[in-house]
């Protein structure tokens, strides 16, 4: 099993009849190594929670195989899979207080009381819920219930920890603090965890690798840096990153020894041919029509370049977000100093070949990233 704690092999989930019902998860395969933290990232309804629940055993696996610690588990009941889970809806036992909720699984293991109390105290301190241990779940706020639910999962001794939106209800400050602590807690103990989230910051901060899902399909499974630098397709390119990547269809032409990108609105950008690596240049000319993507922080204003008209200019306290109409669409720029442009101003825009992501217009698959082919 080459050390993988979890392996999904061509997993499908249908709600309703196999082959006819709603196809929520489509042919997903992935390996998760011991000690990894994986984030399933995607918008609502993308299949991330279905995937998690199939791993836990709450949803039947329609097709494919799930291996957990070397055992095939897709037909086993949850009790035999040895996984812990924190639920999005908290799902605390309403009849017992927070302490007993957290300690529940440990008590079933018949651990001595002192050991149980020590473990509860440790995890409660980490999640800042030491002061509510004696309270009943229905007297708690959403954020407190969520942390209690997270504590109940983390305290267990399991092969795999499944965390469904573990911090969705927390205040921003607390979220930032706990994110760091949670990562440290998981890493220190060598725990393997999969978290489901729609929050990119959370995924980036916590996860070693992020699985981006859309429409039930695993779009890309890579490290946060790789997702940013080498998005596999237009979807991950535009989904990951805030503000999102600017994308424009362009036609590629050669003019007097220069490579010219012509935009829909008539604007064009010309580059010396050697500004592009030879393979990238060849790929561009071979297609003629491509989609280019460029991250907002890589868009530069300059004295030369293609013209655009400023639509909005927002100063966020540490960076400016400027949007401008460009090539029959809108382009967004991020600048780290205050941008002194007013609405209606004409600006000139430059895009460096090193920052360009090129995609195939039909399939949406990446062709090149900067100077390298995808």
């Amino acid at each position: 099993m080459n050390g993988a704690v979890l392996r999904l092999e061509n997993v499908d989930k249908f709600y309703g009849a196999v082959g006819h019902g709603v196809h929520a998860v489509r042919n997903v395969s992935m390996d998760v190594g011991k000690g990894d933290i994986i984030a399933l990232l995607g918008s609502s309804g993308c299949g991330k929670t279905s995937t998690l629940r199939m791993i836990a055993g709450f949803e039947e696996t329609s097709r494919g195989k799930i291996h957990l610690s070397g055992r095939e588990v897709q037909t086993l009941p949850p009790v035999k899979r040895h996984v812990a889970m924190a639920f999005e809806g908290y799902s605390l036992y309403p009849t017992v207080n927070v302490r007993d909720n957290i300690a529940f699984a440990l008590k079933a293991q018949r651990l001595p009381r002192s050991a149980v109390n020590a473990k509860v105290a440790e995890v409660a301190e980490m999640l800042e819920i030491g002061d509510i241990l004696e309270r009943m779940p229905n007297s708690l706020s959403g954020g407190q219930q969520q942390r209690a639910s997270l504590a109940r999962a983390l305290i267990r001794d399991a092969n795999l920890y499944l965390l469904d939106e573990p911090m969705g209800q927390l205040e921003p400050q607390l979220r930032t603090l706990l994110r760091g602590r949670l990562k440290h807690f998981i890493k220190e103990r060598g725990m393997t965890a999969i978290l489901v989230t729609h929050d990119q910051t959370e995924a980036n901060a916590l996860a070693d690798r992020i699985a981006v899902m859309e429409d039930g399909v695993l779009q890309q499974f890579a490290s946060p840096a790789e997702l940013k630098e080498r998005p596999a397709n237009l979807f991950t390119g535009t989904f990951v990153g805030e503000p999102p990547m600017n994308v424009f269809p362009v036609s590629v032409a050669s003019d007097d020894g220069r490579l010219v990108l012509r935009f829909d609105g008539g604007q064009s950008l010309a580059y010396p041919e050697n500004a592009f690596a030879a393979e990238v240049r060849a790929a561009l000319f071979a297609r003629g029509q491509v989609v280019i993507g460029v991250r907002p922080y890589a868009v530069r204003r300059s004295g030369t370049g293609a013209p655009a008209n400023v639509l909005t200019n927002q100063w966020l306290g540490d960076q400016s977000h400027v949007s401008a109409s460009f090539a029959k669409g809108t382009i967004i720029l991020v600048e780290h100093d205050r941008a002194h442009v007013a609405i209606g101003d004409r600006i000139l825009i430059e895009l460096s070949p090193a920052d360009l992501h090129v995609f195939d217009p039909e399939s949406g698959m990446a062709i090149s990233h900067g100077r390298e082919l995808a």
């Binding site: 836990a56 055993g57 709450f58 009941p77 949850p78 009790v79 899979r81 996984v83 812990a84 889970m85 639920f87 999005e88 809806g89 908290y90 799902s91 605390l92 036992y93 309403p94 009849t95 529940f104 699984a105 079933a108 293991q109 779940p137 229905n138 219930q145 639910s149 109940r152 267990r156």
Partner: protein
């Protein structure tokens, strides 16, 4: 500051008193009747001033009914016992069968589950007399007529759909994830059902059980047709007070008072669980 004026408060109390009076008067009148003889009950105009007598209760408890035409035997006490046994027995059987079924209908999606659940509910639509005729013939053939077993079985037509549909709703209201959280912590579905679902649905089960008991207790037609004198509940037994020499109103009233007592006691007892269930509240995350 209390916003309601004194006048409003007074009017409100008057209104509540009227409602209570309206609903409680028949019961109050019956209680008064049960301490009177037929002569004082039937005098015109009626009066609430009379000399109380325990003779009605004595007659019921000793089983000897003195009328102008002579002494009659009434087995009211054994009717009361029959009622208790039949109602408690059918509710017990109904709960044993109905709770697991309600859980299955509430939690597990299977082919035709809605149809089956609806079919069970539809037993309540059928007029009892329509069911009774063929049932009587079958029961006589297979020897179930005039047995407690047979009666409790037939009573399932009343109690089972009731329990099934009420308890099912309660199970559906428990978030499935609470059960999943318990199962993933290393428990089988059966222990999850026992330790998580059952306690959380307890208020619903208490309510359904109580309601089913009252329905079973008040049933008349099944027992009238399917049971002979020694198996009859109070509802049927009360017919004995319609005698050749007139209706024994005093005894009827005393019989009603006695037959209300068990259900009243049960309701007061179960109320504790009903209220407890409400204050437990936050089952919904």
């Amino acid at each position: 500051m209390d916003q309601t004026s004194t006048l409003e408060k007074v009017l409100r109390r008057v209104a509540i008193s009227l409602v209570i009076l309206f609903f409680m008067f028949p019961i109050f009148w019956i209680v008064l009747m049960s301490f009177q003889t037929n002569e004082t009950i039937l005098r015109v105009p009626p009066s609430i001033v009379f000399e109380p007598t325990l003779s009605n209760y004595v007659a019921l408890i000793t089983g000897r009914l003195e009328t102008q035409a002579g002494t009659l035997e009434v087995n009211f006490m054994s009717n009361l016992w029959n009622s208790l046994f039949l109602s408690a027995g059918s509710v017990a059987v109904g709960l044993i069968l109905g709770i697991p079924a309600a859980y299955a209908f509430g939690r597990i999606k299977f082919r035709g589950s809605e149809d089956i659940a609806f079919t069970l509910l539809s037993f309540r639509f059928a007029p009892p007399l329509l069911v009774l005729l063929p049932l009587t013939i079958y029961f006589q053939k297979i020897g179930l007529a005039d047995t407690y077993f047979g009666l409790i079985w037939v009573y399932q037509l009343i109690v089972l759909p009731l329990i099934l549909w009420i308890v099912r709703g309660y199970f559906e209201d428990i978030p499935a994830d609470i059960e999943y959280a318990y199962r993933i912590a290393g428990h089988s579905w059966f222990s999850t059902f026992r330790k998580v679902a059952l306690p959380l649905a307890m208020p619903g089960i208490a309510a359904a059980g109580l309601l089913a008991f009252i329905f079973a207790w008040n049933n008349f037609i099944f027992a009238l047709v399917l049971a002979s004198a020694d198996k009859q509940p109070v509802t049927v037994g009360a017919l004995a007070f319609v005698t050749a020499s007139g209706i024994q109103y005093g005894q009827v009233a005393a019989g009603i008072v006695l037959s209300i007592l068990p259900t009243l006691a049960l309701a007061l007892y179960a109320q504790r669980y009903l209220v407890e269930g409400l204050s437990l509240g936050a089952v919904k995350g």
